[in-house]
């Protein structure tokens, strides 16, 4: 039997530390886009709660249970992260495997927010974007999903094919921020 090798989107590109900020790629995790079918929003929320103990996230929010997470991913859709979604969800929603579609990176460290401020137009102050908040926005020229994991910690997703550009743009911003703090 053929032995195929799995390669993560950022292989050979990460991890990277510039100044106080680190960019790294987490372990690849199952990702599935869940979009409720017509009129099934309530029953999906129930099924999600029953199968995974997860609240259906409101716009701009995330919900977490042990081992899995739901990230709001646009109008009437959320990304199910970290586990295989229950087959029961398919009765209420279109569930589509996206495990290999996205590049996921973690931007962490003092100044991580300043790095994002060079790439993303969103208001990332604590009042506007607290821990647990998420948004579909942009990282420089590419569309992205951005979630705040902690005070200085952010989860950023971009298209898999654009991994090199995502790292390039983040690295450039990290260098700018680092050069200013040294100066």
């Amino acid at each position: 039997m053929i032995d195929l090798v799995a390669i993560s989107p950022c292989e050979g590109l990460l991890p990277l530390t510039v100044g106080a900020v680190t960019l790294s790629e987490p372990e690849m995790a199952p990702l599935a886009l869940v979009a409720p079918m017509k009129g099934k929003e309530a029953s999906l929320a129930k099924a999600m709660q029953a199968a995974h103990g997860l609240e259906w996230p409101a716009a701009g929010e995330t919900s977490k249970a042990d081992g899995a997470e739901l990230i709001w991913f646009g109008r009437a859709q959320a990304l199910f992260v970290g586990a295989e979604p229950s087959a029961k969800l398919a009765a209420h929603a279109a569930v589509t495997d996206q495990s290999d579609a996205w590049t996921r990176v973690l931007l962490e460290g003092a100044g991580a927010r300043d790095v994002l401020a060079r790439l993303c137009p969103l208001d990332m102050r604590d009042t506007a974007f607290p821990v647990g908040a998420t948004a579909r926005s942009e990282v420089f020229h590419m569309q992205a999903s951005i979630t705040r994991l902690g005070d200085d910690s952010w989860h950023i997703m971009g298209f898999r094919s654009m991994a090199a550009t995502l790292v390039h743009d983040l690295k450039r911003a990290m260098e700018s921020v680092a050069a200013r703090t040294q100066g």
Binding site: R118, M162, A164, A173, A179
Partner: protein, 976 residues
């Protein structure tokens, strides 16, 4: 000349720098202007048009004269204002617009020709002959007149762009701005305080007044320390807010690396977009010059600038200084000079009732009417009713009053109000939503009024965003009336400058009025007043006052010209920061990218994707050799190509089939599970939008394939249909393009190759042509589609992208073992042209299904997108340009894409045009060039000979019109 005093320079830290090749010394805290004046350098520039000697006029960003070039090569900055450039060890600045040197400038001859070079000179003189303008006049004028130049070399500095958000943005840190920031900060608001200067304080840094019982500058410093200690206040020094835009957004330029030697990675400038809930504009005011004869000599400066140089930088701008003004602030200048021990030779006040207690020669009701000297001021002429006096002076401080810096308030097309009492324009409330003007920019000219307005504006801003605060106790400060009697231009002969930067005089403005350019906007364009880097900050109001006078109207009726961003110049490099090189656009790489690059394949761009053109082998010297070989793989053995870039859209739901029936011209609800069908999609206007295959994986589950280029467009189109036209449908779809790595495996040995890999082998019965389904390779679940874009027995195999590189390597090795290999886009193109398959070269947006011969695919049994529009008269006519094939028959055996077609014997001109070629290729399979294209009434003309003319490349041949499918017209090879 440096004098004693407690300024804001650090005498313990000398700094050496160069100006025009000479090394000078200044101190930390000096600007280039203050350091040059301290060294006695008065001549710093030549004027734009007449090459007049010019010196420093101001002490701020409004400086029109003292522009220099800093840096070299890719780091060269022209038109840097010496008044804002901080000196640092090694700074190298050069003067501009002079040759061979600043002191001996050949083009100063222009000044002698001044009578002929007035307003409109160029328009009147260089009219004829027309062709001379571009070739002769313009280059000469550009050479003679102008400002600094860029080096022409690629930029080596780094720039950046960034975003910031706040509750209250405070623009300017004079007394109003500091008080506003303090009030808002103490109330708990998120505050951004921006200041152009390196230090906070605005005019307080340059004045001798007291606040709260301490020198004003000490109060400013203490307040700055307080603000810096607040975690909710962000102080941005060296940052100029340059524009006000919609939704509380402001553009701002931060000069990050202009005040120091550039270090690695440090951006030179950062262009900020600041979004604020409320903004307090506390931008201060700009003192205006008075126009009198030869008021532009080096040594004639703004009175406020003289105070700044004396008080802040401890520089005496002259040994014998005269002061001339029409308001009380001029008297401060004389007082400050005396206090600093500088000789004041005259205090001239145009107000007849003015008095002074200062021990200086005082001239009330008098005006300075002229000056003498060439490279520096030597004497001034004072006119009063009793006669004319001449006074020796090497510096004149002048003040025509103050213009509020209201520019930002006007950036959204609002027009300001004229206030007669201060003879100045002030902003109207609400000109920019959410912006409140306070202090001098609002016409409040005493320190106490500024402090009060700053606090008041902050309170209004806080209330608007729902924060509570009380009016703070205001510190005690000077609260004097601003008494002014307007004086725009002193009467008299000779040239009196209004706009120093563009060499526009009172006479020019009057001439404009005489020639009927009476509107202020026309006057501006006719005379060029208010253009270039200072944007008329020093001259706009005076110029329109002179125009008002010349046209017999009042100033409010005359009005101002339009204030537009940016307030100060912004380098394009800052606005475009990060977008150079790899930052221009995202690069999309397939999973086989690394191996493709390693194989030496040249890449071509398809949208944002990078795809291999061909895979050269050792010894191949021309791309055609590689391409022909790769075509051979597919026709004779097996070829492998990465087709992951094609759009893949996953469609689910009870109404998925009905949804597809509406999207495609042909029927998909009749498609069996486990089968694939080719489909054609029209735009709403009935023209072809895209084509591709869609596979039915389950009753309520399809996967659609789009072309690479149109993937995004198709997705948008589907959103339009599902959100707008078929809202009731129970269907959900999402792009899975990125999830799957997909490879074409094509050729007679395709199945043999796959069966060596698949965990469960396939045969013709289980996987006939257009079958699809789940497979697994090495235990990894994937999908297999038996579809063909080459006409051969072919498949597309898809696995999750993480396995893409590994699968590509395996497929390549297996193909090579079977006498085949990988192929690129060139071969792919040849293969599809041989089969007459269309791409966006053919469906380029102007063709219908009828034109490409697919009218039979437009179902009569159902409605579909574009159906009605596609049946409009004229879209189904026999003489339309229709898709046909071409083979060369003439002496020249080459076909070129883009060439046009003419009937044999007809002259190849537009009126005789019969069509055009869209795709061509040399077919190694058939040993000839093949072409696809559109020919008028083409389907009925197979067998005819037409003439092909490529006017661009100069190629001409004849070709035979034929069916667009050249190879295997019955499609037997794909079905075997």
């Amino acid at each position: 000349m440096r004098i004693a005093g407690k300024g804001l320079i650090n005498r313990a830290k000398p700094v050496s720098f160069q100006f025009d090749g000479t090394t000078y010394q200044g101190f930390e805290g000096d600007t280039l202007a203050s350091a040059l004046l301290a060294n006695g350098v008065k001549l710093v520039a030549r004027s734009f048009k007449y090459h007049r000697p010019r010196g420093v006029l101001t002490a701020g960003s409004e400086e029109p004269n003292a522009l220099v070039t800093v840096g070299h090569g890719g780091s060269q900055d022209p038109n840097v204002r010496a008044t804002t450039q901080e000196i640092y060890e090694g700074l190298d600045a050069r003067s501009q617009n002079r040759w061979p040197s600043l002191a001996h400038d050949v083009m100063a001859v222009n000044d002698l020709a001044a009578p002929f070079l007035g307003a409109g000179f160029y328009y009147k003189t260089f009219m004829w002959p027309k062709a001379f303008w571009e070739k002769l006049y313009e280059p000469i004028i550009r050479c003679a007149a102008g400002l600094g130049a860029i080096s022409g070399e690629p930029i080596t500095d780094k720039f950046e762009r960034a975003y910031a958000h706040c509750d209250v943005l405070v623009v300017g840190s004079g007394p109003a701005g500091l008080m506003a920031a303090l009030t808002a900060g103490e109330a708990g608001a998120d505050v951004i305080l921006t200041e152009e200067d390196s230090l906070l304080g605005g005019r307080l840094l340059s004045e001798n007044g007291q606040i709260d019982g301490m020198p004003a500058r000490d109060w400013a410093n203490a307040t700055a320390i307080k603000l810096n200690a607040m975690s909710n206040v962000r102080v941005m020094a060296r940052t100029t807010v340059t524009g006000a835009y919609d939704g509380g957004t402001y553009g701002a330029l931060e000069r990050v690396g202009h005040h120091c030697e550039m270090s690695d990675g440090l951006p030179k400038e950062c262009f900020w977009r600041i979004v604020a809930k409320r903004t307090v504009l506390a931008a201060g005011a700009i003192e205006r010059p008075v126009a009198f004869q030869n008021n532009d000599r080096p040594g004639i400066m703004m009175a406020s600038a003289v105070r700044a140089y004396v008080n802040r930088w401890n520089v005496a701008p002259g040994k014998s200084v005269a002061v001339f003004g029409n308001n009380d602030s001029a008297h401060d200048t004389a007082a400050d000079l005396l206090a600093a021990g500088v000789h004041v030779c005259a205090l001239i006040d145009s107000r007849p009732d003015a008095t002074t207690t200062l021990d200086v020669p005082f001239y009330a009701g008098a005006q300075v009417s002229g000056s003498e000297g060439r490279k520096e001021l030597e004497a001034i002429t004072i006119s009063r009713a009793s006669g004319i006096d001449k006074v020796q002076a090497d510096c004149l401080a002048m003040s025509g009053g103050w213009n509020p810096t209201l520019h930002l308030a006007c950036h959204m097309s609002g027009r300001p109000d004229w206030r007669e009492d201060i003879a100045a324009f002030v902003p109207k409330p609400g000109m920019v939503p959410g912006l409140i003007a306070a202090g001098a920019c609002n016409g409040a000219f005493s320190t106490a009024a500024c402090l009060g307005e700053g606090a008041g504006a902050a309170l209004a801003a806080l209330e608007a965003i729902g924060l509570k605060a009380k009016m703070p106790k205001l510190p005690a400060s000077e609260d004097r009336d601003y008494s002014i009697s307007p004086l725009w231009a002193v009467a008299g002969k000779g040239r009196a400058w209004l706009d120093f930067q563009n060499d526009v005089t009172v006479k020019d403005v009057k001439q404009a009025a005489v020639e009927n350019f009476r509107s202020v906007e026309h006057m501006k364009r006719y005379t060029t007043q208010g253009m270039a880097t200072d944007q008329g900050k020093n001259s706009n109001v005076q110029a329109l006052a002179v125009l008002a006078d010349a046209t017999g109207r009042g100033i409010p009726e005359t009005g101002t010209t339009t204030y537009r961003p940016p307030f100060t110049p912004v380098a394009i490099a800052a606005m475009a920061a990060g977008a150079e090189d790899k930052g221009f656009a995202p690069e999309r790489f397939t999973t086989s990218h690394r191996l493709t690059v390693k194989a030496g394949a040249p890449l071509i761009e398809a949208g944002l994707w990078y795809r291999p053109s061909f895979f050269p082998l050792k010894g191949e010297t021309h791309w055609r050799q590689s391409c022909d070989r790769e075509v051979g793989y597919v026709r004779e053995a097996v070829g492998v190509a990465d087709v992951s870039t094609l759009g893949k859209i996953d469609i689910k739901g009870r109404d998925a089939a009905a949804f597809l029936d509406f999207l495609y011209t042909n029927m998909f609800s009749s498609l069996k599970v486990g089968r694939v069908r080719y489909g054609l999609m029209l735009r709403e206007d009935g023209h072809v939008m895209d084509d591709g295959t869609t596979a039915r994986l389950a009753d309520d589950h399809f996967v659609m394939t789009t072309t690479t280029a149109a993937a995004g467009q198709v997705m948008q189109h589907m959103e339009l249909v599902s959100q707008g036209m078929k809202r009731g449908m129970d269907v959900r779809f999402t792009s899975v393009t990125e999830h799957w790595a997909q490879f074409a495996v094509a050729g007679p040995k395709a199945r043999e190759l796959l069966n060596g890999l698949l965990d469960a082998p396939i045969d013709g019965e289980s996987w006939p042509f257009m079958a699809c389904g789940d497979i697994s390779i090495g235990g990894v679940k994937g999908r297999l589609f038996r579809i063909s874009f080459s006409g051969e027995h072919a498949y597309e195999v898809a696995l999750p992208a993480r396995y893409g590189e590994s699968l590509f390597a395996t497929l390549r090795a297996r193909a090579e073992a079977l006498g085949g290999g990988v192929y690129g886009m060139e071969a792919l193109n040849v293969l599809r042209i041989e089969k007459g398959f269309i791409t966006h070269a053919e469906i380029h947006g102007r063709v219908t299904a009828f034109d490409v011969g697919m009218q039979g695919m437009m179902s009569k049994k159902k409605d579909f997108m574009g159906k009605g529009a596609a049946s409009r008269p004229g879209l189904l006519e026999d003489d339309r340009e229709q898709l046909v094939g071409f083979k060369p028959t003439g002496v020249v055996k080459q076909l070129t894409a883009g060439a046009h077609l003419y009937n044999d014997g007809a002259e190849p001109v537009r009126a005789n045009d019969q069509g055009y070629l869209t795709s061509v290729a040399f077919s190694p399979t058939m040993g000839t060039f093949l072409g696809l294209g559109f020919l008028r009434g083409g389907r009925a003309r197979h067998g005819e000979t037409v003439k092909m003319v490529d006017h661009v490349r100069g190629i001409e041949t004849t070709c035979e019109v034929c069916h667009p499918v050249f190879l295997d017209p019955n499609g037997e090879r794909a079905r075997d």
